[in-house]
Symmetry: C2
Subunit: 554 residues, 2 copies
């Protein structure tokens, strides 16, 4: 099938997982990349700071890659750029706010000057040799967000990006449903659409509703109002600002990402704050408490971010005061529930008031619910459909939804990261698989921590470790020093002296058995010591610490 | 105040935390204990299997303790009994099913024969010297659950236990609201009530509603139905059995706790299964798939439990087959969301159908919502109130709710674990604090893992470890062997040979500096080596592995 007349869709991340969104679209000798995100480490990825995609496929096809097209400025769509651009320096395309945020990141990694940033507007079309890439305005929990239509000789591929259908967005810029409808009329070959909230019936709530809640809450607040939210949610920020201005409160931003993104948003005209209303955190004590709003990071309960620092009295500049009202204007990302609850409990303990999602409408989702998703399918009525953005359960439900809307199930493709969907104007087919995967970033290291290191960390975390050191003299086949035993994370050594003595005895016995037989191969000695000690400790404690036998030879 | 005429309420666990419920009630030389539960370890308690309360206070007052009174058979109310009874062997009181479940636990710990189990029925009163302890039927997500009223010379203390108000419970045994109303009329001195769901408006849904969902789902199922739920939820089990019998499906229990508790429940008459309907998991292949229901553990996504084993093809006896329908009849306990999602994704990937709480009403909570809580307050109209069972945010909201219902805020006491509330018939007051805390159980060890061990495990988990070993000769102040470097969980050693060589060089330099100056105090050598290596590694990698310097001396 499909030689001349086909286009390849190659998800390099983001399918069957939350985050790390990156998709290659390949036609002849052109590849364009949509988004370039990170994902956050799972609990069992001990010590890993973030996860970036393996882009071997792009590096192997370096000459083909014409650019990276960014739908919006969230971490799971832009976060890998500093790492990927270091390996593959291609032009970037995105809207003003999106690239404004990207710029900050590239500056931080000291690579901005080498990068090629091209600002586009919603409605713009970037023309490559065979491919035309069109940015189409959508609505999402960050301003200046877009869907992308790729016009190929085979047909139009419409990628929704992350979206919701908000008919009353804060900036008044409604999703360009007309354009999607027009594309649908001309014929969409393949739709790729956001699956995040496909399990939720109905329609998402407009961002504007939050403004009403905020106004009500601000109208009653007697002390400071301290709001934790996502730094990238400029519309949310604007509404907090509006409520503050209405009640004559000065506004201080706290937390690095909050300060940075609010500044970018103001400079670029996405966040409007009347003169004299912004103050720095250092200035808050110059005003009475009922004249202050603080907007801070840490809405996910992160131990090192603003909110948790304030709660646990670790913040250098902000201490809890009587009548402080905390608003957590966010919902927990799955996995963060306990962290957030810990912070809420502490704020209550310290006597503050706390309002959060379980109690009031202080957060709405940025992703389309079922009825919105149905709208997009209906307007685009594509020939082929491929659900994107979501865990497997979401992709699967989205596929089912498309079939319920009347699509032939043979035209619906639930891919996983790395699979290649090849689409001609007649048919579509999964035709292969490319190298993909996760690269771990830990501190300064990119990719130097892998599964073996993580397996050891997990093992160390569970049961700790026990080191056995002994110095042998080869000549005399005798123990010169040791055995010494050092443990960490295993057991209270002082209270377990008897146990440690028994371990030493076992080691001595094993060693002498070998030495008496003139065996001095390290691997035999070590493996015998290790096995005996392991067995003994498991019987005594039902624990399996990592055992490190070290033999010094003189 | 209050000498002769006061009673002390001493929560030893369960306040400001979820689980580990245990409360001492002391009047003169009598102490009774209500419940004796465990809590599950937080994420940062690496390797800890479970957490039990510190009962120093009870041990210090051993002669006063007259018995432990159990409200119901959930782990967070009975789980610590095997550990506590080993230290403090006092009589136990509880209903038939509750003690049936306890019996199994005590058997497993080989202490059943030494324990004193006293079966009571709802309505019974246990008379001690000064105290009378009355069991009052309530409704909860386990059968045979009770509230407890303690009649003291000072007045009546009513402890709701975990409860909801289910007007249509599966066993037909409605909560004894009449008795609570009668106590309220006579006068309740202190109410202690369940706060778990105080943030939820309205009224919880009756367990019976699940039966309707199950019947509908079973009526359409074409293959096996595999239900994961809490082993202790006998009513849920009964409804799954009823739906199975209706559609002529044999029932197999899978998972140790599921097998054990279903057997106890059948033997004691709490679970009714018609003859011939129970089969063992070994027999499932003798029937066609549409004649099979499997009830399994693992509804929280636990890696080692039934459901996850089936999903990831690790179950010895149950493999996924076409048209299998999985029901997850539970909601995630906070913190388990990602684990469950992982299992759901895998089941979908393997082609199974999966129904869960987000999609259908296959689970209801066992704890009272706001309107039910208000009912109990209104019936009991106590003089004093103390919220129990919940994190601080729940206690705080429950206190507010009591005040909104008309209580004087001076009569409402939000305690934390360890605080002592002293109540006379005139007043109540927090009068002190006793020793409390968490004791960690890890494998066979009880209390041998504490904060230092956990701190090391956390550190090891984050960045791994690096051991430096060197053998010195004291006489000649020289290095005889080493330095050797061994790492685990830090970095891929093979790819970092250059880094390791640099570490060795730093160690040599530090050692020689000391040795040249004739310094051979171990602590100086070690501390210098450690500091230099730490600094070097942090600069190079931004990681801080645990560094273990070991010096052997000959």
């Amino acid at each position: 099938m499909m030689n001349e007349g086909s286009v390849k869709i190659i998800p390099l991340g983001g399918l069957g997982e939350i985050g790390k969104n990156i998709t290659a679209i390949e036609y002849k000798d052109e590849i364009i990349v949509i988004d370039c995100g990170i994902s956050f480490p799972d609990e069992d990825m001990h010590g890993v700071d973030l996860v970036i995609p393996d882009i071997t496929y792009l590096l192997n096809n370096e000459n083909k890659v014409k650019g990276i097209f960014i739908t919006h400025g969230h971490e799971d769509h832009i976060g890998s750029l500093p790492y990927i651009l270091k390996q593959l320096n291609v032009p970037l395309y995105g809207t003003k706010l999106t690239l404004g945020i990207v710029e900050n990141k590239l500056k931080e990694h000291s690579i901005l000057s080498e990068c090629q940033l091209n600002v586009v507007e919603a409605g713009d079309i970037v023309e490559l040799e065979n491919l035309k890439v069109e940015f189409i305005r959508n609505t999402h929990s960050i301003a200046d967000s877009c869907a992308i239509a790729i016009h190929t000789p085979v047909g139009v591929i419409l990628h929704t990006g992350d979206f919701k259908v908000d008919y009353t967005p804060i900036d008044g810029l409604v999703m360009d449903l007309e354009r999607i409808s027009a594309l649908g009329k001309e014929g969409v070959l393949l739709l790729m659409a956001d699956s995040t909230n496909v399990e939720r019936p109905g329609h998402s709530i407009s961002e504007r509703v939050i403004g009403e809640t905020l106004t009500r809450i601000f109208s009653k607040a007697e002390g400071r109002v301290i709001v934790a939210t996502f730094a990238s949610n400029i519309h949310r920020m604007q509404q907090i600002v509006d409520a503050s201005v209405k009640y004559k409160r000065k506004i201080a931003f706290s937390g690095r990402s909050m300060e940075e993104i609010s500044e970018v948003a103001m400079n670029l005209g996405y966040l409007h704050i009347p003169d004299g209303y912004i103050i720095s955190v250092d200035e808050i004590n110059r005003y009475s408490n009922d004249q202050i709003t603080i907007i801070t990071t840490g809405s996910q309960g992160e131990a090192m971010a603003g909110l948790a620092r304030i709660a646990f009295s670790n913040h250098r500049k902000i201490k809890i005061e009587p009548k402080d009202l905390f608003l957590i204007s966010a919902s927990p990302i799955p996995g963060n529930e306990k962290l957030i609850s810990r912070v809420i409990n502490e704020l209550f303990r310290k006597g503050a008031e706390v309002v959060y999602d379980d109690l009031e409408e202080v957060h709405v989702s940025g992703h389309a619910y079922q009825e919105e998703i149905k709208l997009i399918h209906t307007l685009a009525h594509p020939k082929f459909f491929m659900p994107v953005h979501g865990e497997y359960r979401h992709l699967k439900h989205h596929a089912n939804l498309a079939i319920k809307l009347g699509m032939n199930s043979n035209n619906v493709f639930t891919l996983e990261t790395g699979q290649v969907l090849e689409v001609s104007n007649k048919e579509a087919k999964i035709t292969g698989k490319v190298t993909t995967g996760s690269v771990y970033v830990d501190g300064l290291g990119v990719g130097d921590v892998g599964n073996i290191v993580l397996r050891d960390r997990k093992h160390l975390a569970e049961d700790g470790m026990l080191t056995i050191v002994v110095t042998l003299e080869r000549e005399s086949y005798s123990i010169i020093a040791g055995p010494d035993i050092i443990t960490r994370g295993f057991i209270y050594a002082k209270e377990s002296e008897a146990l440690i003595e028994e371990v030493k005895e076992i080691v001595r016995k094993e060693l002498n058995k070998c030495l008496d037989n003139r065996i001095i191969e390290w691997y035999v000695l070590k493996s015998n010591m290790k096995k005996s000690v392991e067995k003994f400790l498991y019987e005594k404690t039902k624990r399996r610490p990592i055992i490190l036998p070290i033999i010094m030879e003189i």
